[in-house]
Each structure stands twice: as structure tokens, then as C-alpha cells.
């Protein structure tokens, strides 16, 4: 694993000499800031309305965490789904397009060093995005008093989600020499994963009258990230959720490794 640093370092540097990383960071910061302002403004408007109409019971249950932070994290989820593929699309496809794949595969490095080095760089970029979110959320602490642990658990959820998306993006990037194809394909996979959760919820709702949850639906629900992420944003740090993200990252890195190596099988 001694080449890990060299590979991750080159990848990180290449992020910052191309406009892509800056574009993604700028768009992300803009959206993250915009949505936070929207959340806070609608929160204020809702409180004013509740006070005016004397709905004190509802007002009591109304708090920063459940309304602002929870909703905000879910919006950021969608933003990540669309932007993380932008950070990962070139990871392997550019190597194929440049012909540098030949340099890498004829160097005395292992495929794992290559895959993990690149994933490390993508993970660092994704962590930067989450740091931006954390910064914005920090502003809430200056003006209100959100529950710190629940807020942190949600951030952890976002981070794990983004790392999972980066692993999926790395995999799609390893399958094509075109970054654009990699981007579209990974957004597609992420959307499928996203909607899987809703579909299963609908399916379960339809079966609600029946004798307990169906095994297949239960499994599909587990594969979809929705439930695990939702638990974390509610402040429930369950080892099952953590294991889920670890599992997904592991599976997609394994697939990436196999895909990079596959030029050797052909």
C-alpha cells in the first residue's frame, strides 16, 4: 500500500487544476446556502403563522431540528446525488481516455492501491462538501439551539451517504472511457437506489393489511439508502445503519477493482 499516497495525491491535485472541482464546490455551496436560507425563512413564517393563529400545541412540537435541520439534510441528499457523480466521473475514465491506464497497469502497483488511492482522493473531496454543510449548519447554532448530537448524527449520515455515492461513482467511472457517460450512468444508479426506498414503502403500504412484511421487500428496503439515512438524521446511530454504508462502499470498491482488472481478463 505504499503507492496509496502517490495515487491519491496526484488525483487530488488534478481535481484542483481542472475547473470541475471548483465548479462542483461552487454549485454545491450555492445550493447548500440557498436551501438553508429557504428552510430558515419558511420556519420563521410557519412560526409566525402558528403564533398568530394561537396553535400553541403545534408550536410546542415545532423545533429547529425536526423542521429545519431534518428537512435541510434531505434536500442536501438530493444535491449530493446529482453532484458527487461530477466529482467521481473522471476517476478512471480519464485514465482510459488519456492512455495512462497503460502506465498504471504496467507499474509495480497493485489494483487495490490504485482503486483505494483514487477512492481516498474522491473521499477527501466529498468530505469537503460535507464540511461546507457543517459550516452552514454551524450558523444555526449561533442563532438558535439545535440538538447538537442529533445534528451531528445527521451530518454523519450525509457523509456516509456521500462516501457511498463516491464508491458507486468510482465504479461507473471504471466502466467507460467517457466521463460524461460515467456521470449519467452513476446518476442513474443513484436515482434508482433513491427511488427504490419509496417504491418499497409504497409496496409495503399496499401489503399493510397482510401478514407482516414481505421478505423480498424487506431486503430491497435494506439495500436502498433511504431508511438508514433517515434514521441517522433522526439522531439514531444504529450499528446496522453504519454497517449498511460500510457494506455498500465495500461492495462497490470490490466491483471497481474487478472492473479495472478486467482489461487483464479480456
Amino acid at each position: 500500500m505504499r503507492h496509496l499516497g502517490a495515487i491519491a495525491g496526484r488525483e487530488l491535485r488534478s481535481y484542483f487544476v481542472s475547473p470541475m472541482a471548483y465548479a462542483v464546490l461552487a454549485v454545491f455551496s450555492l445550493l447548500a446556502g440557498f436551501f438553508l436560507v429557504m428552510q430558515v425563512l419558511s420556519f420563521n413564517a410557519a412560526i409566525a403563522y402558528l403564533e398568530q393563529t394561537q396553535q400553541l400545541e403545534t408550536l410546542d412540537r415545532f423545533n429547529l431540528n425536526e423542521v429545519v435541520v431534518y428537512g435541510y439534510y434531505h434536500v442536501i441528499w438530493i444535491v449530493l446525488l446529482l453532484l458527487v457523480p461530477g466529482l467521481t466521473m473522471g476517476l478512471f475514465s480519464n485514465e482510459k481516455a488519456n492512455g495512462t491506464e497503460e502506465l498504471l497497469l504496467t507499474s509495480p502497483i497493485t489494483i487495490w492501491e490504485l482503486v483505494l488511492g483514487k477512492y481516498l482522493a474522491a473521499g477527501a473531496m466529498v468530505t469537503l462538501l460535507i464540511a461546507v454543510v457543517a459550516g452552514f449548519i454551524g450558523i444555526l447554532f449561533a442563532y438558535g439551539d439545535p440538538e447538537p448530537l442529533q445534528t451531528a448524527a445527521g451530518l454523519l449520515g450525509l457523509w456516509l451517504l456521500a462516501l457511498t455515492y463516491a464508491a458507486i461513482g468510482a465504479f461507473t467511472s471504471s466502466m467507460t472511457p467517457s466521463p460524461l457517460v460515467a456521470f449519467v450512468f452513476s446518476v442513474l444508479v443513484l436515482l434508482m437506489l433513491f427511488f427504490l426506498g419509496f417504491a418499497v414503502d409504497v409496496g409495503m403500504g399496499a401489503q399493510a393489511g397482510g401478514a407482516g412484511a414481505d421478505g423480498l421487500l424487506e431486503n430491497l428496503r435494506w439495500i436502498s439508502s433511504d431508511g438508514h439515512f433517515d434514521e441517522l438524521t433522526r439522531g439514531l446511530v444504529d450499528t446496522r445503519s453504519l454497517a449498511y454504508f460500510g457494506f455498500m462502499i465495500g461492495v462497490f470498491l470490490l466491483l471497481t477493482k474487478a472492473s479495472v482488472e478486467s482489461v487483464r481478463w479480456r
Binding site: N98, G99, E102, L105, P108, T110
Partner: protein, 259 residues
């Protein structure tokens, strides 16, 4: 230095390389010739560890490419058909990166990079992004990355393709210099593929000719000249196939005394 032992590469029914064996010693400069699609690039990719052979193996610098792939790859410098460069990196940064990949010890990295740049005439452009360099310079960067770790074996896939006549001469001179034994080190083994027979005349001492993945000629250049008239004639006769003599009669002699 290189011992290819019955290398074959098959893609389904298609045989790209068919039971190819040859040897090259330190100091050998071997021209690897053949028509397009004869299996030159495939053979080179197998020798450099880019992909495994379906059958057979090769020993490079004492290491079996399938059993000790990392050691074997460390002993080889490879220039693929298009130089494997990152356009956004500058020349020095790129060569430092390659030297890390190729396990040049940290303490020797700077020196190794400086020497490779000096040999390839890159010193004055060392801070320029590779994407901004001319094709000839990019080719030199490609050669510099192949030699930065002082490999004992150099494998170059069409090192002068697409260059103008002046650039071709420069690269040829560079290769001729690289072929001569190192200052204090052991001599290199160079295998290069090309379509330019004059290039082979200029720098190679030995020729291996393949056709349809099979070796049809393996002789020192002087022997080809004296026995076959000229390299052009030998190439045409053996690869057009019309009155080609059986390969065995040509490969039997001469392959041992490569020097």
C-alpha cells in the same frame, strides 16, 4: 534479460499471438517488426504486464511475468503507442509521480527525474504542462517516463510514429544513446516496434519479424543483409507471404548470437 517462452494470446477463436518465443540479452537492441495486426502491441503488452498471456510466460530481468508480476514490471520501462501522460501535469511533476509508481527510492527521486529530463532534452520545459507541449516533446516525455527508474529492459511501441523528420532523428539519437551501456551500469535491452525499416537499420542490431502472431524471422541485422539482400526485401517476402520460405529455416540460425 527477456526470455519469452511460448507466449500465446487468444481472444475466443482469434489468435493474436501464437506460441512466440525469443530471447534478448543485455545490450541487445531488437527491432520488433510485422504488418499491422501481427500482434506486436499485444506481445509488448504481455511482456510489460499490462495483460497476461493465455499460454506461455516470459521471464524479464529474472522475474516471471505471471509469478512475480510486480518485480518483473519494476524491471521494465514501457512506452505505449501513445505516451501515457496527464495533459494537466507539468513535466517534472509527472516524472516525479511516475518515479513514485516505479519505486524509485525517495532519496534518489530528484536525481532520477533530473537525469531522465536531461537525457530526453526536457530540462528547459520542466515546468510546462504536458498538454501544452508539441507532439515531439510529448513523445520525449513518454520516453523519459519509461527510463526514469533506470529499467534494464525498455519496451517501446512505435516510438517515432507521428513525428516530423527532425523529431524522428532526435528520438533515434536518444535511443541510440540509451542502448549504449550506462555510465557504470549494465547495458539495457531495448525492444522497439516500428514500421519504419530505416529506423531499424539505424538503431537495431537484431530483427524479430512476426506475422499473424507467429515469429517468421529472428536474426542479426547483418545476417539479414547478407542472406536476404535487404531488410525491405525480407519484410516484403515474409509478410506478403507469396513465396515465403518456412519460418523454421530462418529462425533456426542466428537467434543465439544476438550481439
Amino acid at each position: 534479460m527477456i526470455e519469452a517462452q511460448g507466449i500465446s494470446k487468444r481472444y475466443g477463436d482469434f489468435v493474436a499471438v501464437d506460441n512466440l518465443s525469443f530471447e534478448a540479452e543485455a545490450g541487445d537492441v531488437v527491432g520488433f517488426l510485422g504488418p499491422n495486426g501481427a500482434g506486436k502491441t499485444t506481445t509488448m503488452r504481455i511482456l510489460t504486464g499490462f495483460m497476461p498471456a493465455t499460454d506461455g510466460t516470459a521471464v524479464i530481468g529474472g522475474y516471471d511475468i505471471h509469478e512475480a508480476p510486480l518485480d518483473a514490471r519494476r524491471a521494465v520501462g514501457y512506452l505505449p503507442e501513445s505516451p501515457p501522460v496527464y495533459p494537466e501535469m507539468d513535466v517534472r511533476g509527472y516524472l516525479v509521480y511516475v518515479s513514485k509508481l516505479k519505486d524509485v527510492p525517495r532519496a534518489k527521486r530528484r536525481e532520477a527525474v533530473d537525469r531522465a529530463m536531461e537525457r530526453c532534452g526536457l530540462t528547459e520545459v520542466h515546468r510546462r504542462p504536458i498538454g501544452a507541449l508539441s507532439k515531439g516533446y510529448r513523445q520525449r516525455v513518454g520516453i523519459a517516463q519509461a527510463i526514469v527508474h533506470e529499467p534494464r529492459v525498455l519496451i517501446l511501441d512505435e516510438p517515432t510514429v507521428g513525428l516530423d523528420p527532425n523529431q524522428i532523428l532526435e528520438i533515434r539519437e536518444l535511443l541510440a544513446r540509451l542502448a549504449r551501456s550506462d555510465e557504470g551500469g549494465t547495458a539495457r535491452t531495448i525492444v522497439l516496434s516500428t514500421h519504419i525499416l530505416a529506423e531499424v537499420d539505424a538503431i537495431c542490431r537484431r530483427v524479430i519479424l512476426i506475422r499473424d502472431g507467429r515469429k517468421v524471422l529472428d536474426q542479426p541485422l547483418e545476417q539479414i543483409r547478407s542472406e536476404q539482400g535487404s531488410l525491405e526485401q525480407a519484410f516484403a517476402r515474409l509478410t506478403l507471404g507469396a513465396e515465403a520460405p518456412p519460418a523454421a529455416s530462418l529462425t533456426a540460425s542466428g537467434s543465439e548470437d544476438g550481439e
